[in-house]
């Protein structure tokens, strides 16, 4: 009995462990977030403007619903580390020595601050700009205080001297375009005066952060903010939901909540089933003792209590193991999170609520499983319970009734046994199938990430390098790029931030103006079909069109968020099913025509000769208009460095957990079948059946269950992946439901291995059957 109890306890432990791991990690994340948001006074609304005078701040403070305002000057810069050719995008932010920060407080982790001013300090005599560097970037490159970097500040190369490591609630997650890239993106806080001087921003700002008053209407504040910033080149204003770091954090929390709830539920359901089966069998074998106890006057409650105590002991073991497991794995997950999400303090925290929920769920599982198993027996009259149960009734299987008669006798026995207990057989198959499904899901994430990388970096982005400019440039700059070493071809893009408006529905996005027949930067749908922007109108991501209530042929208003405020009326030519983002595409030329601004571009994508990238990146550093560069190869490398490891870890854990389920179901199923059929199998041994033949009869049932469960589990896995994809679906992202054959194969192999392991253990017991005893008792 101990081995069965242990396998059940392990299934319970996996459920509780999985539940606690994810929820404690997510709780820790949410707690650190809440703490840091409040301690760091994280803003609620953010706005970008071209150049607004400091005097405007007082006017912004009067907007109803605004509690506080902080303005800053921030600029994207190209950063270089000596000896490293990788393009690095930096966000350089000015900190004002004279005015204390009011929102998005920067906290210094190490290094020096100008006393009482909380700024990295003024320009050094040699012209170097002291800078605090975001922690993840500093860690990724192993930078220490005093390290020198260079940045292209307003077209001029400036030395940045690292004066410390800092964090901000605005950059808890650091990466470009929502992809974790700690090497390729860094934040640099410098003295405001020096930055303002470099960009001609003295007495002005280009970023606004707003803290809302309690109960304020965010939408109304954003609208007022936009109106007041419009005359100064107001570009966009948005709430936390559209803030990159915040939305990445929220997505992670949501994702883990879903996984942490769906998966453990499956584990606990399987545990309940196993407990039911094991206790049912135990009750049958102890039927006479139960009857004797009843005859002696023990009440039903006491007898039921006895079984319940035993089951509670098993689940308590599972619960204890699960809590310990959850604590260890939760800590591990928290440490992984700490690499992506940077907080001043981030401790693994196990809240009482998931522990109490685990306790309630496991006890509930145990009580449910047990009571349903012993109910019927306990209710029997003692005299009746003392008689052996009525002999099992069998009939021909469905297959035979349908006319299939050429079945071997042993297969017949197996099938009739399975058919006699359809619910138990079904649940066993369901249990094994759920193990297959969980394994499919565990490895699906790897497939999905590969699919996304494949789609984005092989099909969509066929270029090697992307460049973008500070300001719009005439398209003839393309010809200049074509002349650079190793460049095979160049395509121009124009990106314009807009708010799309249809009636009362509004969505902020960027219209991406692509080449008419894009070769290097294409629009690819989830089925890997290319979509060409056809006419003069827009192609919208289906989710965006849905949100705006638009269909092909409709007209949408686009409020332009850069330069002079304008509204364009654009036709929706088509929609496209995409995984990521809420995108709007147009032909660049059509976009330029609509804006009536001539043949201009804001970015270029380049395809290069093999090996030409370092030289090309070096050459672009000399181009004054180029604000930043992006290398596909670096991005993939940086992303996979972290992502691949984490996905592998998660797949391994889920596969292990699922193996526990598979072993739990298969092993217990075989042990129960053995205990129920010991008599029959021993009789067959007496008749001269060999050990192998007898084992075949019992294990055949297991093999058939597994053989049926594997395809069922694959279908279930597909469904589970679909469910998870739906639950995880957000505005910005739809997980692709892509499961590679290797994932199905791996799940099948793991379950078969679990089955084989269980079979070997049970086989040893079959070999030890006591034939003589079987002849002396009546089943």
């Amino acid at each position: 009995m101990w081995s069965q109890s242990l396998t059940i306890a392990l299934v319970v432990a996996s459920g509780v462990g999985g539940f606690l791991t994810t929820l404690s990690a997510v709780d820790s994340l949410a707690l650190a977030r809440d703490h840091y948001y409040s301690q760091g006074r994280f803003a609620d609304v953010f706005a970008v403007v071209k150049r607004a005078p400091d005097a405007l701040v007082d006017s912004l403070r009067t907007i109803p619903g605004v509690a506080d305002v902080q303005t800053t000057t921030e600029m994207p810069v190209r950063v270089e580390i000596e000896g490293l050719s990788d393009p690095i995008v930096g966000q350089i932010i000015g900190l004002d020595r004279r005015r204390p920060q009011r929102l998005n407080l920067v906290s210094l982790r190490e290094g020096r601050a100008e006393v009482a001013s909380m700024s990295p300090g003024p320009i050094r005599p040699d012209g170097a700009l002291p800078a605090w560097v975001s922690e993840s970037f500093a860690a990724a490159h192993g930078l220490k205080s005093g390290a020198r970097l260079s940045a292209l500040v307003n077209g001029r190369r400036r030395a940045l001297e690292m004066a410390g490591v800092a964090l901000s609630p605005e950059y808890i997650f650091a990466g470009l375009w929502g992809m974790p890239d700690q090497r390729g993106f860094g934040v640099f806080w410098v003295d405001h005066e020096a930055l303002a001087a470099a960009y001609d921003m003295e007495g002005a700002f280009n970023r606004v952060a707003v803290k809302l008053a309690p109960g304020a209407d965010q939408r109304a504040v954003i609208d007022s903010l936009q109106r007041r910033l419009a005359p100064y080149g107001g570009r966009e204003a948005y709430g936390r939901a559209d803030q990159v770091s915040h939305s990445m954090l929220q997505n992670e929390i949501k994702e883990q909540h879903v996984l942490g709830t769906v998966l453990p539920s499956i584990f606990l359901a399987v545990a309940a089933f196993l407990l039911n089966v094991v206790v049912s069998r135990l009750v049958v074998t102890q039927r006479e003792q139960i009857a004797a106890l009843k005859a002696l006057g023990y009440p039903d409650r006491t007898i039921a209590g006895h079984f319940l105590k035993m089951v509670l002991a098993i689940v308590s073991l599972g619960l204890a193991l699960g809590l310990a497991l959850g604590d260890v794995l939760g800590l591990m997950f928290t440490r992984i999170y700490a690499e992506f999400f940077r907080f001043p303090s981030f401790e693994h925290y196990v809240a009482p609520s998931p522990v109490l929920i685990s306790l309630a769920m496991t006890v509930g599982t145990a009580v449910l499983g047990t009571l349903s198993a012993i109910g019927a027996t306990v209710r029997l009259a003692p005299a009746e319970a003392m008689r052996p149960p009525a002999p099992a009734r069998y009939r021909r299987t469905l297959l035979e009734r349908l006319g299939v008669t050429r079945i071997s006798t042993s297969l017949r026995m197996i099938l009739r046994n399975m058919e006699r207990r359809p619910i138990r057989t079904g649940l066993s198959i369901g249990g094994i199938a759920s193990a297959v499904a969980i394994m499919v899901m565990g490895n699906f994430f790897r497939d999905a990430i590969e699919f996304i990388v494949d789609t984005q970096f092989r099909l969509v982005m066929r270029s090697d390098v992307a460049l973008w400019t500070f300001e719009v440039v005439p398209d003839r700059a393309r010809l200049e790029l074509l002349r650079l070493p190793g460049v095979k071809s160049v395509e121009s893009n124009r990106f314009v931030p807009v708010t799309l408006v249809n009636g009362h529905r509004r969505e902020r996005t960027v219209i991406r103006g692509y080449a008419s027949v894009p070769e290097l930067y294409r629009i690819i749908d989830v089925d890997w079909r290319e979509i060409l922007p056809a006419g003069e109108g827009l192609v919208l991501t289906d989710r965006l069109a849905e949100k705006l209530g638009l269909r092909a042929g409709d007209v949408v208003q686009a409020e332009v968020l850069e330069g002079r405020p304008r509204t364009l009326n654009l036709v929706v030519d088509a929609t496209v099913r995409e995984m990521m983002g809420l995108n709007a595409y147009m032909k660049r030329e059509a976009l330029n025509r609509a804006l009536a601004e001539g043949d201009i571009s804001t970015g270029f994508v380049l395809s290069l000769d093999a090996g030409a990238e370092p030289a090309l990146l070096a050459a672009t550093r000399q181009l004054p208009h180029v604000a930043g560069a992006f290398s596909k190869a670096n991005m993939i490398r940086n992303m996979q460095e972290v992502t691949a490891r984490n996905i592998r870890l998660m797949s391994t854990i889920l596969t292990l957990f699922a193996s526990v389920i598979a072993i739990g179901v298969v092993y217990n199923g075989a042990r129960i079948a053995l205990s129920e059929r010991t008599w029959e199998l021993a009789s067959l041994r007496v008749l001269g059946f060999t050990r192998a033949e007898v084992s075949g009869l019992l294990l055949g049932e297991m093999a058939i269950s597994i053989a049926v469960a594997i395809p069922v589990g694959m279908v279930l896995g597909y469904g589970l992946v679909h469910l998870i994809a739906v639950l995880l679906r957000s505005d910005q992202f739809a997980f692709p439901v892509v499961i590679l054959p290797r994932t199905y194969a791996l799940a099948a192999i793991c379950v078969m291995a679990a089955g084989l392991g269980s079979a070997l253990v049970v086989r040893r017991r079959i070999d030890g059957l006591d034939m003589v005893a079987a002849l002396k008792t009546r089943e």
């Binding site: 002999p391 099992a392 009734r393 069998y394 009939r395 071997s408 006798t409 017949r412 026995m413 009739r416 046994n417 006699r420 008599w679 029959e680 009789s683 067959l684 041994r685 007496v686 008749l687 001269g688 059946f689 060999t690 050990r691 033949e693 034939m771 003589v772 079987a774 002849l775 002396k776 008792t777 009546r778 089943e779």
Partner: protein, 236 residues
């Protein structure tokens, strides 16, 4: 009757150990059984008759002594040799029939024909026990006597040299018991199958060629019936 000896046992002893307690089930038992002989083992509970039958049937090994079946030495035989011995040579009938509940009468008998080399015709075996009309019934649909007859059909279908019956009528009423004994007697007579029947019912002894009385693990007396009586004439 031929005097060809099939079983030779000499000095058989069997000691069971349960915890610290030793139970001596057989002591110094020696006997020979000839081909086609009908033997009844009589004795009270604990006299060692089942232990002896189990050793003869290859289900148990003696602690001491020697036993052979024809030219097979059963003492010291491996597990797989004993399995083959049971499979090829021995038919068993037990008090609780030991039928497979998920198989019909015919299928229970077919179970054996599937694993032996020269079985009797399936339907002939069923006809010999008079269950032609019940051949497609499951054990749960049969009376105790019918179930025991299925067990006999299953035992004889392999054309065994030996038929070993442990209390074959123990769970049956008087009339049914006689019917079952009649079947066993016919098998012994018609097929010349060496038959050993265990019983604690002394009345059955009249059917036997020889009656071996056991007590306290020893053979106490061996009696030869000069005139066997048919089961129909038995009464108890």
């Amino acid at each position: 009757m031929s005097s060809e000896i099939v079983f030779r046992a000499s000095g058989l002893g069997k000691v069971y150990r349960t915890g610290e307690v030793e139970v001596v089930a057989l002591r110094e038992v020696s006997l020979e059984i000839a081909r086609g002989e009908f033997i009844v083992l009589l004795g009270p509970s604990g006299s060692g008759k089942s232990t002896l039958l189990n050793i003869l049937g290859g289900l148990d090994a003696p602690s001491s002594g020697d036993v052979t079946f024809e030219d097979h030495r059963l003492t010291g035989a491996s597990e797989s040799e004993l399995t083959r011995y049971r499979r090829e040579h021995v038919g068993f009938v037990f008090q609780f029939y030991n039928l497979i509940p998920s198989l019909t009468v015919r299928e229970n008998v077919a179970l054996v024909t599937d694993i032996v080399e020269h079985p009797m015709d399936l339907d002939e075996a069923i006809a010999r026990v008079g269950l032609q009309s019940r051949r497609d019934h499951f054990p749960a649909q049969l009376s105790g006597g019918e179930q025991q007859r299925v067990a006999i059909a299953r035992a004889i279908v392999k054309n065994p040299q030996v038929l070993l019956c442990d209390e074959p009528t123990g769970a049956l009423d008087y009339a049914t018991g006689k019917l079952v004994l009649d079947v066993i007697e016919r098998v012994n007579r018609d097929l010349r199958t060496t038959t050993v029947v265990i019983t604690h019912n002394a009345a059955i002894a009249g059917m036997a060629d020889r009656v071996i009385r056991l007590g306290d693990g020893c053979i106490q007396r061996i009696e030869r019936n000069e005139k066997k009586i048919s089961p129909a004439e038995l009464s108890w």
